[in-house]
């Protein structure tokens, strides 16, 4: 994926700059030689060796500076040991909150772990402190796009776009956000810019998004298919193709595409939600829980995922568990008709008919309101 690869390369480079600056500081004493050796190993790619030496140093000097923790975090992250890297970066940031590179690295680790919301929080701080940090800005836009926060994507990337008129990644993300935000004409301008650069996956992705917005699902499906063929690693290309396939009735292929998206991005929210729902329908609750758990990491507290987990509880004959999940859900989203239906059913299962009836009446009221909004209601 072009966007991710460019941005992430920048992030790792910043980590090594940090290491080098530390190396310049710590040189004279034996423990410092230990650190120097760790840095050399890290630069040479011997991350296990570097980690061992950093940890040895930390045993001897628990009061070590933020830079040591940050370097250790970078080495752990380099080996994919993200869970261990996070506390090291956090320690570094507690000691030196202004250590922008550590914050950027922490955001990167969160991003890699699929904890997009936490990544966005850290990136927003970096962006706020240093709006000129293009890597942070670009990644922040990407996070917001994944979180469905189109208006935030626009807020962050719109000022960047005139500075980088040829940057396809910015044009792609901003264009996508604009189209999803119903600002189709503005989004279309960015599409045209990408189109001028030839038959690119980004262009087909954006055209597909535009067609989805106007209900041309078959057209969207065909555009997304072309985008997948041109660049199967493009962010969200599989998930958009999968959604179009669902809407055009090809659920078998859509499941394959959702899974393909997860192969590229294991924490893609829509793919995890959709595949979790499918697994639940197939009564494969263990697998469904796995998908939903990952979806919640991307969007903590997402009502749709919480609802699916409540449905599993109902399916498994645990109405009180379901009730406990559904009650806060409808407090937060009182118009969530399906949740009222399920809560009503949970109350009836719990032999609380008065509560069940109350929820049922809410369902009827919401249904009637929805019915009145249908175009046919006016035509008659």
């Amino acid at each position: 994926m072009r966007l991710k690869r460019d941005a992430l390369a920048g992030m790792w480079k910043s980590a090594f700059l940090l290491i080098l600056s530390f190396g310049t500081i710590a040189r004279a004493q034996t423990p410092q030689e230990l650190v120097q050796d760790a840095i050399q190993k890290q630069q040479a790619g011997d991350l296990e060796g570097a980690i061992a030496e950093y940890k040895q140093f930390l045993k001897l000097h628990p009061e070590a500076t933020a830079a040591i923790h940050s370097n250790l975090g970078a080495a752990l992250a380099g080996l994919g040991r993200f869970e261990e890297a996070v506390p090291e970066y956090k320690t570094a940031l507690r000691q030196s909150p202004a250590l922008a590179a550590a914050r950027l690295n922490l955001a990167l680790v969160y991003y890699k772990m699929g904890r997009v919301a936490e990544a966005a929080t850290e990136l927003a701080k970096v962006h706020s402190e240093d709006p000129s940090n293009e890597q942070a800005t670009l990644l922040l836009g990407d996070c917001y796009l994944r979180m469905g926060r189109e208006k935030d994507v626009i807020r962050v990337l719109e000022p960047e776009e005139p500075k980088h008129p040829e940057d396809a990644a910015i044009a792609y993300m901003l264009g996508t956000a604009l189209i999803r935000d119903k600002q189709v004409e503005k989004g279309q301008l960015l599409v045209d810019r990408i189109l001028r650069n030839g038959d690119s996956a980004e262009a087909h992705l954006m055209l597909g998004s535009a067609k989805m917005n106007v209900g041309d699902f078959a057209g969207a499906r065909d555009e997304f298919a072309k985008a997948v063929a041109l660049n199967p690693n493009l962010a969200e290309v599989h998930v958009l193709y999968a959604k179009a396939l669902v809407l055009t009735g090809d659920s078998d292929q859509s499941s394959k595409e959702f899974k393909a998206e997860l192969a590229v991005d294991p924490f893609n929210f829509d793919s995890n939600l959709q595949l979790g729902a499918t697994s639940r329908q197939e009564q494969n609750y263990e697998q469904a829980n796995r998908y939903f758990t990952r979806a919640l990491k991307t969007r903590p507290g997402d009502p749709g995922v919480r609802y699916q987990l409540a449905l599993i509880a109902l399916d498994e004959g645990k109405p009180d568990d379901a009730r406990q999940m559904l009650e806060p859900l409808i407090r937060e989203s009182p118009q969530f008709t399906e949740a009222h239906v399920s809560l009503s059913l949970a109350y009836y299962r719990l032999k609380r008919p008065a509560d069940g009836k109350r929820e049922q009446e809410i369902v009827q009221k919401l249904t009637a309101e929805a019915q009145a909004k249908q175009p046919g209601a006016k035509a008659q």
């Binding site: 069940g356 249908q374 046919g376």
Partner: protein, 567 residues
């Protein structure tokens, strides 16, 4: 029919060779489980006129229904087919009429519609056959967009339109209907499903679809309506009694209905499949203190109103039967593609669980839209099986869906010894490889061989008659039940039988499927048992009489009259 040797070996090992081959222990060529009888062989040349227009008015897409009935009481099932007709959006350029075919008792049928006087007058949808006046002759109720018609049987091969006198015209858009005796007074009452409010002067057009043409609106855009319950006054008239009850309060878009007894309290309840709004389960609670009948709508709490995701589905066909053999009625609903159909198993406490996944029905129906359907024991092994007739409502769906098609195949499920339904459609014969725009479906034994046959109405096409070859290896007993104190059709009777050491029971439900009406006789499958050792008929109220019979010889139809035994 073309089957590979491997397919036959697999089938024979799975279901038993005698069920697959035409005849007990025969060594001849295998026959399909069901064989389509072409019009050239049956004489049924009638074709449904769906009136499909460029505007795509929704009533065009929903018919037709069909029925097996013995209109002349000769002991042979005749066939009734419903057609469209004049309406406020269509004036036929040539005559359009229903069809009544008399069974010639030799596998052929003769069209006697004009003589019988059942040609229709409105944009017909479906039919419900029942002996509402207890005179021993079946009467025909035809639902329609426009007005319904009640044809009273004159006992001489003709019928009389008594709609106005009976007060059952039910203006609007009615779909399925069912005769049943809700108050156990010995007379059949009538429930009529109402679909949507389509009464606007300007019919709604949903605009252009993805190929730039008008398409059939999803019913979501129309207002829901209340269905009607008519009480039989016993003098040829009916009184609408739904007003003020849960039936009138429940605004739905009814397409399918079955009358059954959900809680085994001896009162027939109603399960209604609604399109795009929740289904209704009307529990019959009996008379209230003020004399008014009490109906309670409990679909949500029963777990049959919505999908498991809390969404209303597009319910179309329904049925009820004791699928699990525990003496309690289970339910079935066919929905539209991607909603999957529902197999609701009765928890015996007025709640249900959807076992469609466990039965493999969910997966098999994921891409299908179901209309006519029936639980019946097609192979007479004693367990209820299932046949589904499918077809997408949008005739242009092929143009913008990669998987969903307008014409869809029939599905046949066999209930195995594991009590699960097994999809055997691929091996059931060429009729199950064909794709249809199927709508109504009726079952009945038109050749009196004890193997229940199938009739399917197709939208804008010829009906499909399927002769059953699958039951030839098993024994059976056919019952014609005649109520005396209870309703003459004995709707609500419970039949218990023991054969070959196995005890089984069946409730005589009515309705089920979609727009269609079935052979009122009951065929009891007994597998390889030579006779029925014990037979009990529990007649419905008011008598609640129980009659017992022993050592009843098999492979024949018998006529049992309430209080008089086998006659």
């Amino acid at each position: 029919m073309k089957f590979t040797r491997r397919e036959w070996i697999r089938l024979a090992s799975t279901f038993g060779a005698t069920q697959l081959f035409g005849g007990r222990g025969t060594s001849g060529q295998p026959q399909p489980l069901f064989v389509e009888v072409p019009p050239s062989a049956s004489g049924i040349e009638w074709v449904h006129e769906n009136a499909m227009s460029p505007s795509r008015y929704l009533p065009e897409a929903l018919g037709p229904g069909c029925a097996f009935l013995d209109y002349d009481n000769d002991g042979w099932m005749d066939i009734f087919l419903v057609n469209s007709g004049p309406s406020d959006f269509w004036t036929p350029s040539k005559p359009v009429r229903n069809a009544l075919y008399k069974n010639n008792r030799d596998g052929t049928f003769a069209d006697i519609t004009e003589k019988a006087g059942v040609t229709g007058a409105y944009f017909g949808m479906g039919t419900a056959v029942g002996d509402y006046d207890n005179d021993g002759w079946p009467d025909i109720f035809v639902t329609a967009y426009g007005k319904c018609i009640l044809y009273k049987n004159n006992h001489d091969g003709t019928f009389k339109d008594v709609t106005e006198k009976a007060r059952v015209a039910t203006p609007g858009w009615s779909t399925s209907a069912v005769w049943f005796d809700y108050d156990n007074d010995g007379r059949l009452d009538l429930f009529v499903c109402s679909f949507v409010d389509y009464s606007g002067v300007r019919k709604l057009e949903c605009g252009n679809n993805q190929i730039g043409r008008n398409y059939y609106c999803v019913p979501r855009v129309f207002k829901p309506t209340a269905s009607s319950l008519y009480h039989n006054n016993g003098d040829g008239t009916f009184t609408e009694v739904s007003k003020g009850t849960a039936i009138a309060k429940a605004l739905g878009k009814g397409l399918g209905v079955v009358a059954t007894d959900i809680n085994n309290d001896g009162r027939m309840d109603l399960f209604v499949a609604n399109d795009t709004v929740q289904n209704f389960l009307f529990m019959n609670r009996g008379p209230g203190s003020n004399g008014r009948w009490i109906w309670e709508e409990v679909a949500l709490q029963a777990g049959v109103g919505f999908s498991e995701s809390g969404r209303p589905r597009s319910g179309m066909g329904v049925d009820a039967a004791d699928l699990t053999g525990d003496g309690w009625q289970d339910l079935f609903v066919a929905n539209v593609d991607h909603e999957m159909f529902s197999v609701y198993e009765n928890n015996k406490d007025e709640t249900f669980r959807d076992a469609a996944q466990a039965h493999g029905v969910a997966r098999a129906t994921r891409l299908l839209s179901g209309w006519g359907l029936k639980y019946f024991d097609y192979d007479n092994d004693g367990s209820a099986d299932l046949l589904l007739a499918d077809g997408h409502p949008d005739d242009m769906i092929d143009s913008y869906s990669m998987q969903v098609k307008y014409k869809e195949p029939l599905l046949l499920f066999h209930q195995g010894l594991d009590r699960k339904l097994h999809d055997i459609s691929e091996s059931a014969g060429p009729a199950f490889q064909e794709c249809l725009a199927a709508r109504g479906l009726a079952v009945g034994d038109y050749d009196n061989d004890g193997a229940i046959d199938v009739l399917i109405g197709t939208n804008g096409g010829a009906p499909v008659l399927l002769k059953n070859n699958a039951a030839k290896g098993n024994n059976w007993l056919g019952l014609k039940l005649e109520g005396v104190r209870c309703n003459r059709d004995a709707i609500g009777a419970r039949i218990l039988w023991k054969a070959g050491g196995k005890s089984r029971q069946r409730l005589k439900n009515n309705g089920g499927s979609y727009l269609s009406s079935h052979d009122l006789r009951e065929v009891l499958g007994i597998g390889d048992a030579a006779q029925i050792d014990e037979l009990e008929v529990h007649w419905p109220a008011p008598s609640k009489r129980i009659e017992k019979f022993t050592s009843v010889a098999s492979n024949r139809y018998i006529h049992i009259v309430e209080g008089k035994g086998i006659v």
